[in-house]
């Protein structure tokens, strides 16, 4: 679907967060010169089409105790990566899981799975599970731990 002007204004007005007031949708509508009901109806449509993934809390994993955050990367046989990727996505503890291009010779990995835990030991344990699942289809892997959040603002469209 294409964004219309109202969607664009709605995104610009809410991408930094909803106002924490008793009638947040009315407050957004007031800014945009529409009713709160119009805001709610459009958000409902955007949820349905998937343009809005969800409306809620975006936690800071670190502050919530999930201080170990490992981007596990795997070099998986191209003929099996899609089937195995689906199975890995279902493991608990795996959040994002994607197939991405290799950048040879520096970067042989084509499957990325984000792992979150309260400790590195917990993340390593999850990685062992992944390795068992991948079996001989996997030729090598690495885990890149994040050591600092440098920026986390989410999407920022320009209001135009």
């Amino acid at each position: 679907m294409a964004l219309d002007d109202f969607d664009r204004q709605l995104i610009a007005a809410t991408q930094g967060g909803l106002p924490l007031v008793p009638r947040p949708y009315d407050a957004v509508g007031e800014r945009l010169g529409v009713s709160g009901l119009q805001v709610r109806e459009r958000l409902a449509q955007l949820l349905e089409t998937g343009l809005v993934r969800r409306i809620g809390a975006v936690p800071n994993h670190y502050r919530l105790g999930f201080t170990a955050n490992g981007m596990s990367v795997w070099d998986v046989d191209d003929t099996q990566v899609d089937i195995l990727g689906e199975r890995i996505g279902q493991l608990p503890g795996v959040s994002h899981c994607y197939r991405r291009p290799r950048r040879l010779p520096d970067w042989p990995y084509n499957l990325f799975a984000m792992l979150h835990g309260r400790s590195r030991a917990e993340v390593e344990q999850q990685a062992v599970q992944l390795q068992e699942l991948l079996g001989t289809a996997c030729r090598g892997h690495d885990i890149l731990y994040s050591t600092a959040i440098l920026k986390k603002t989410g999407l920022r469209l320009k209001e135009s």
């Binding site: 800071n60 959040s95 899981c97 989410g154 999407l155």
Partner: protein
Amino acid sequence: MLSPDDARLLERLHGDLPLTERPFADVAAEFGWTEEYVIGRLSALLESGMLTRFGPLFQIERAGGLFVLAAMSVPEERYEAVTAQVNAHPEIAHNYRRAHALNMWFVLGTETPAQCAAAIERIEAETGLPVLAFPKEREFFVELKLPLTSGEAHGA
């Protein structure tokens, strides 16, 4: 750490704020709390940094836009300066330092592939460092529910 009330509230509000006139009052009613209490707790969680944001999460791909993961290998002595250069671009949605030769990993969110390519070019020109882009070719799963109310080891 989170109080038990905060943990319950965050699990409830992971992604399902009601689209009603007074959504916080409706959530409060589910727990037998007041609207003021829910708004107060959310404000406090934002202020303390437990939450980075509260509101709609947009999936720009559905409107033709895209998120692209990219990485750079930044010399240690320039790390802070390059972080500032990269983060100054509004296209950068997230940026993480990671322990690897490729030590800076960021996500660009743009409305078109051309905007993404242009942002990467600008970053390369400003920093003099190559940017490796890793566009997603296939998504297997996205979403993580952290077990906030249990003390269980995550993923155990």
